[in-house]
Symmetry: C2
Subunit: 411 residues, 2 copies
């Protein structure tokens, strides 16, 4: 089945609104074992006609979003009916539900909203509980032009998502003859080079029948997605982990911070952070995770030397002797944070994010990570990520969280 998605909306092409529909639809369809062959974004108006005319000739299912509103720019209904050779007629039930939408909110219904109740003859009206725009489903047998099924859906995600779940999903499964959706499993890795990983995994997995897999590289992270039957996925997972188990963040799609929070919770341990160059990014990431309050209680953002001395008790002498970005200071920060927060593990980072502040000895991109585990000697390691400020900080936070994960798993 060839599926194409057309997102309409001039605002999506002017740089101020991010089109999140492509990724969202991709994810939803992927769960059914379906893939989008093409996603198009076009401005409002006549561009929809051109795009739709082409897509219905090529695809088995076309999903169009946007342009179902009441304004003069909203032409998706009209143009679709024209392209497919269908007459638009007012749907009484749809009109009543739009009237009810306004009545419930105590607002008058504008005359322009009446056109939202127009529906191609014979097509299904898809109810919209959260907005005025009903969706439309045009079955292949109604299409006067090709054998393609067409869905017209509202653009705003909070209207689109429930309509997709309640009205589109079962029609799609029926159209595509899907009885059992395949399984999907995402493995996340860190600390390996992208090309090395791809080469090795490509050759490991090449022979497995019925397996699909794909990669995604992020800063400090490589994701591998496995699709197939449960047995095939398990076989692939084992093969990959034979070599790459030490680099595995998670095999259930959890982020590094989610994995760290889960490991801490399982071991009833408290983590604390002492951050210089990352300025709170590590604690922000940890507290992104719901339930992190059970394992994270204190974080120290000691951006200035004075803060390292006063708040953590790092020795002024150490800073003067070795500089704030040094093994010694990273280690003292971690040790001090562990004590101050009565924690089980402390991770500390200090580095030069740039663009200024680099020296010949310690260029921009240099960082030290200190790790203190209760009852063990404090350790520290150096990083060098000469990247832009944003990517540098993200890399350092990733390395710090990975160090915690390794301490917790003993790997």
């Amino acid at each position: 089945m060839r599926i194409e998605v057309i997102n309409t909306g001039t605002e999506l092409l002017l740089g101020n609104t991010l089109n999140t529909h492509g990724a969202w639809f991709g994810g939803e369809l992927f769960k059914l074992g379906l893939r989008i062959e093409r996603q198009l974004t076009v401005p409002d108006g006549d561009a929809i006609r051109e795009a739709l005319s082409e897509s219905v000739e090529r695809a088995d299912v076309v999903i169009v979003t946007g342009g179902l509103g009441p304004t003069s720019d909203d032409l998706t209904r009209e143009i679709t009916a024209e392209v497919l050779g269908l007459e638009l007629i007012p749907d009484e039930a749809a009109l009543r539900s739009i009237e009810a939408f306004f009545a419930q909110r105590g607002r008058p219904m504008a005359d322009s909203n009446r056109k939202q109740a127009l529906n191609p003859v014979g097509a299904d009206v898809l109810p919209n509980g959260l907005g005025t725009a009903p969706g439309v489903y045009i079955a292949p047998r109604l299409n006067g032009r090709s054998q393609c099924a067409v869905f017209l859906l509202p653009g705003p995600p909070r209207e689109l998502y429930p309509m997709f779940r309640d009205e589109v999903l079962h029609r799609l499964r029926a159209l595509c003859g899907i009885e059992v959706a395949p399984s999907v499993r995402e493995l996340k890795f860190t600390g390996i080079g992208e090309s090395d990983f791809h080469q090795a995994v490509d050759s490991k997995l090449a022979g497995i029948e019925g397996l699909e897999f794909g990669y995604c590289a992020r800063i400090g992270e490589l994701d591998l997605r496995l699709i197939g039957s449960d047995e095939v996925i398990e076989a692939a997972r084992k093969l990959v982990l034979e070599t790459f188990a030490p680099y595995l963040i998670s095999d259930d799609g959890s982020s590094l911070e989610q994995s760290v929070v889960r490991l801490l919770a399982e071991q009833s341990k408290i983590l604390t952070t002492a951050e210089s160059c990352t300025g709170g990014l590590i604690s922000k990431r940890l507290t992104d995770v719901p339930g992190s309050s059970a394992v994270f209680t204190h974080g120290f953002v000691t951006y200035a030397n004075q803060a390292k001395v006063e708040i953590l008790g790092v020795s002024q002498t150490t800073i003067e002797a070795h500089g704030a970005v040094s093994e010694e200071v990273a280690a003292e920060m971690a040790g001090a944070a562990l004590d101050k927060a009565h924690a089980d593990i402390a991770v500390a980072v200090t580095g030069i994010a740039g663009p200024d502040g680099g020296t010949q000895d310690k260029p921009v991109g240099t960082a030290w990570v200190g790790l203190a585990v209760k009852g063990l000697p404090v350790t520290a390691f150096q990083l060098f990520h000469p990247r832009n400020r944003h990517d540098f900080r993200l890399s350092v936070s990733q390395a710090a969280l990975e160090a915690v994960r390794r301490a917790l798993t003993g790997s």
Copy 2:
């Protein structure tokens, strides 16, 4: 000039990677007065051939991203050369620069990287300082199929953005005959309702000849983009600020955190933060700004009550009497942070991010922001943003930074 953008990458259609290229290109081209007529996303492999074949027949300029890497999936160079009837030959300079990229990082170059130095005969190699994939520019006269100019650019934003700025922009201007690009000015506002703002600004700016403007709504922020001659932009800016000056974050596109850091630097003041529900997000945002170390020295992430008491010295009695999410605790946190950090301003937040932890009196989405300014009584105000965890935390950080901005500007 008809411009089309093709983004290649299976990962963009599988739901794990958001395609930010559409919006980004839209914004960059809009600054030149150009618009994208169509943006397509297609998977790696043969879909690129079909999409490119169609686009080069229809458009004057086609920009392709992705598929320039070393793996077997990366076929953009090969397929483009085939579609346009051009021979691919190794470019010696490109090969040397890829070799240098690996040498600099002390890593061996894989054999697969050699194909990245292949270039269509006569086409310009676009250097990539930040990755191994050089870009390609194929002028209309080289194109064996149509009069369309074709750019092949790397997918990763950190490689794409500088290449676009350094290598694509001037070629695009020449292609499109743009001598003087119009000016663009972005005004950022906060604390106003979106519909009220749009209605008022629409009617204010409707009469100005030669002005284009557009909106973008973000969490806790409304952006207004003005495009036109300098005089027209200035007239529009004045009209909008007649009503909305008190809500202005910046009129030069600066983010709220950039504005706050700049104001602090101008006034030689030090800010400190005491964060509970935001868990470091506020200090992370402040330290995203280069040079923030001059105005931000200490941050306290006191996620647990115990941390509020031990690290800041909030009174246990206050917490017991009013709860951690209360006016009193927010105020004590701010006052204590001000003292501990010897700062001029302190902002503190405490709230219920959810999904758990809400009560009937204090549902998820409740937060208090405390503000302490040296020499003035501490103040606090309540927020209620019943949103998902991510949006709630972003909203609270925005309100906290806005409170600091208002304290600094006396507005």
